[in-house]
Structure formats: C-alpha cells, structure tokens
Amino acid sequence: MDGTVLAHGLGGAKDLPIPVDMAVAGAVAALVISFSVLALAWRTPRYDASRGGLPLTVPPAATALSWVLRALGMAFFLYVAMAAVLGEDTLVNPVFGSFYVLLWVGIVPASLLFGPFFKAVSPARTLAMLVAKLTGAPADRGLLPYPERLGYWPAALTLFAFVWMELVFPHATQLGPVRLWFALYLGTMLIGSAVYGTTFLARADPFEVYSTLVGRLSVWGRRDGRLVVRSPLANLDATPVRPGLVAVVGVLLGSTAYDSFRESPTWLRVVQSLGIERAWPDTAALVVFTAGVTLVFAAATVATGVSDHQARRHLPDLFAHSVVPIIVGYMVAHYVNFFVEFGQRTLIDLSDPLTTGADYLGTGDWQINYWLSMHPTVLASTKVLAIVTGHVLGVVAAHDRAMKLLPRKHQLVGQLPLLFVMVGFTAGGLYLLFAS
C-alpha cells in the first residue's frame, strides 16, 4: 500500500477542461486585440529603462529587514530539509508540496507582488553571501568574472532539469530523488558562486532567474541602483537582455504547455500503447515543447527587415521579455486551483512535518476550502482571462520593442510574424486547456 501511494503526482482531481465557447471567445479576443494594438497603438517607443518611475527613499532599516528575510528563508528551508531527511516518505510529507507548489508555483504570485522575491530569501544566495563574508571576498565577484556570453543559458538548463523532474520523472514524489535533486542544485549553486560570485546565481539559479523575470511584472524596479515604482510594462521593458533569455522563456512556456498536454487522453493513449517506460516519450515531448516554443519564437523575431547596425541573431533575446506575461498567464491558468487547494494542504501538512501528530504551526486543524473546484465556471473564466491578459501584455511589450528596434519601413510588417506566433501560443494554450 505504501509502495503504491508513492508512485504518483501531487493533488487529487484535476481541473475540468474549459468549455469550448470560452476557449473560442478567448482566442478571438486575443486575435482582435492583437491587431488593434498593431493598428492603433503608439508609433514611437514608450518605455525607457533609463527614465521614468517614481524614486523611493529606502529607509535605513531596510538592510536589517533584508537579513530578517534571509533568516526567514533559511529557517523555512531548514524546516523543510528536516522533513526531507527525517520525515516519512509519503505524500503527506510537506516536502513535496513545499517544493512543487509553494516554491515553484508560489514564485509567480510572490514575484508579481514583491518583485525579485526569491533572490531576497534564497538559501543558496544566503549561503554564498555567508561564505563570501567568511573569506572576506566581495560576494558578487568570485575567482573569475562570469563569462557574459553564457548569459542565461545555465538557467535554461537548470530550469529544464526542474521541469523534467517535476513533470516527467516517474518518482518525482519520493523523498530520495527530491533530496538528490535539491542537493545537486545547491551544490552547483555553491560551487558556481564560489567561482563566479553571486552573479552566477542571477544567471543559473532556476528559481532566482524565474522569480526575477516574473518580478519584472511587478511595480518594483531599479534605475541607476535606486528603487523606483513604475508601471509593470515599463519595468518589463527594462529586463536585461542576455544570451539565452529566449531559451529561458521557451522552457518556462513550453513546459507549462506540456503539462496540459501530457494529461490529455490522446497522449495518454499514445504513451500507454507504446509498451515502454513512459518517461521516454514524455521526455521527448517535453523537449519538443520547450525547444519548439523557443525555436518558433526565435524564428518569428528574426523574420523581419532590420537596419544595418542591428544583428539579426540578437533579436530573439531582445524580444524574449515579451513572453514573460504570456508565461504568467499560462501559469495562472494551469495552476491557480492547484496552488490554492494543494497550497492549503501543504500548509496543513507543514504543521506536522515528521508525521508524529504534532501541530507546530497551529495549522494542523485547518480545513481545505474547495470553493474554486466547486465553481468550475468561475475557474474556467479565470483561466481564459489570465491567458488573454498575458497575451495582450505580451503583444504590447513586443510592439514597443519593435518600435525601438526595427527601422521605420519594417515596423508594421516586421511585427506580423511575431504577432502570429503569439496568437498561436495563446490559441494553443486555450486549446490545451479545452482538450486536456
């Protein structure tokens, strides 16, 4: 009995498919709004990272506060690590919910509200900073300068390693593999930051890169080192462009799409009729989805006329920030109910991390609120709204970037391939929600 209960994913029932009329309405809305943006929107770039935003005065207590946050992040990590080492290897162990739900899905709301949230609490960063303090070296620099041409490629790899573990690996909800994954992650981050300083974490830590990227859609930004409050779209436009950014967004968007796909009855029938370990075709599908999104998006961005001083091969990374709102829309659509319900479950389980009947946090007797599951229409509308909103913000962000980068005569037509691809992503996302 114990043996069997282990072998599957988190959460009980999954969301119902969205009704077809809602999916169609969402897709039509996305299409119409996109072309309206193209036809009616501004013709000169609007967002400029070097200007705008309301500067804030940071109170002197902020440094102390930042260490309090670090201490809290560390305490939470150690608490969950304790459950991972000493706890029972069943689904009531809060490790799984903390890792796959609170951390991975929670990154989205936390970063939307607070900006680069994970960076502020990351145990890897805290440890790297402590090590640097002990050795007297400046934390942001290590033995070697970070090779800038690597950019975000390491994060694309570590993000892939995470989503593979979460969505493909058959033993993702067993303690051994989770401990191993996290140990490898922490080891890589510590060695990397010893060599390259904490810059390494900003380029290779999957959670930090993801959180900082989503945090671009918060109102909190920085200009010349000063904290500013500005519109999320202006903040998004200030996303630093580095090699591999397009692969990062491709992995994030593609894996979320794959998560719907893998549960569709069609794919289920295919993998179950192959007679081989499911992880193989699933891995192939995850690669196709993530690489596919990356390549299709990259191809769309380069399919334009450019001016002489603009290298075409830089365009995918220069436009990649516009996928971030689409990722957030997909994440909300796919995980809102899971986050709300399994998040509650995890908070309850966290109170008794070692399954000894304890109630350390006082949350042990909470009852899970299933309101959202009981109102499928509200849930479905939320999903469609999230996807369409993400799409619109993405189109606007890409449009503004096109105004900045493309020569005047290519501005209109040059945007078309990208627009088509974005409509395709949105229609595809809605289709997956309808068909799975």
Binding site: T4, V5, A7, H8, G11, G12, A13, K14, D15, L16, P17, P170, A257, F261, E263, S264, P265, T266, W267, L268, R269, Q272, S273, R278, V288, G292, V293, V296, A299, A300, A303, Y370, S373, M374, P376, V413, L416, P417, F420, V421, V423, G424, F425, A427, G428, G429, Y431, L432, A435, S436
Partner: protein
C-alpha cells in the same frame, strides 16, 4: 520580397498552430465503455466482498466495464463523463486480483478479485479524476466529473 515575407509568415503561423495543438484535433473523447452491451446482465449478483467497494449496485448512474488481461487494461486511459455525487459502477473482469486507485480527494481504492466483480465509487467534487492501476503503472480511466 513581400511575397516571400508572406510565405514566411504563413509557414510560421502554421508551425505555431500545429506545434501547439499537437494534441490531435478530434478528441472530445466520447468513449463511453459504459454501454451495457452483452456481458453485463448476470453479474450484478456477484458483488465484490471487499470492504472498500460499495455493495449496492445502482443502475441509474454510469456503468463502466473494465477488462484486465495480464497487464493489459481495456479501456486504457479513456475519458468518461460522470455526474458528481452519483454512483459510478465499475464492472471489472480480470484474470488476476489487483487494485485500482481513484484519485479523488480523498483518494479511494478499489480492490478487485479474479473473475468478475462490481464496485461503486462516488465522487462529490467536479474535476477530472484518474483511475489508476499501480501494478502495472497505467491510467485506466479519466472520470470527468461535472
């Protein structure tokens, strides 16, 4: 030049649409293996003695027939629409004893024996509930509960 551009755009759109909708279009899966054709009638007397399974077979709800031959299940991953709060009757014809795991919240187990047995599950929240076998590891049914 504009024509080439147009072709490029069309190709991209096609790729994007195909790529993302790779789910294969036709599946609003209507496979309802519940159709009470043939083999069913005499089986209602042979109820499973297991405590986990319901004992009363109601004819009003959905009735689903499952066959297990060796490690092969039929159906294998089919989507069946059921009503929430209503009894779903599983008629399992198997050549070995085993168990199915119903991924509702809370979870339910269906222990079946060799031969034909009848079981009932009730799911009271909307959602897609998988019915899995864990040995071998397969999704046998997806109950679309509304």
């Amino acid at each position: 030049m504009p024509r080439r551009r147009l072709i490029a755009v069309a190709a991209l759109t096609l790729t994007a649409t195909l790529g993302l909708s790779a789910c294969g279009g036709d599946d609003e899966p209507t496979t309802t293996p519940a159709s009470p054709q043939g083999s069913a009638p005499t089986q209602s007397g042979e109820q499973s003695p297991d405590p986990g399974s319901g004992s009363e077979v109601e004819q009003s709800g959905t009735r689903i027939e499952l066959t297990r031959t060796g490690d092969v299940f039929d159906p294998s991953g089919a989507r069946v629409k059921v009503k929430r709060g209503e009894a779903v009757t599983l008629v399992i014809v198997s050549d070995t004893a085993g168990s199915l795991h119903v991924h509702s919240t809370p979870e339910q187990d269906v222990e079946y024996r060799q031969g034909t047995s009848t079981h009932e599950v009730v799911i009271d929240r909307p959602g897609v509930v998988e019915v899995e076998s864990h040995d071998p590891d397969l999704v046998v049914l997806q109950l679309e509960v509304r």
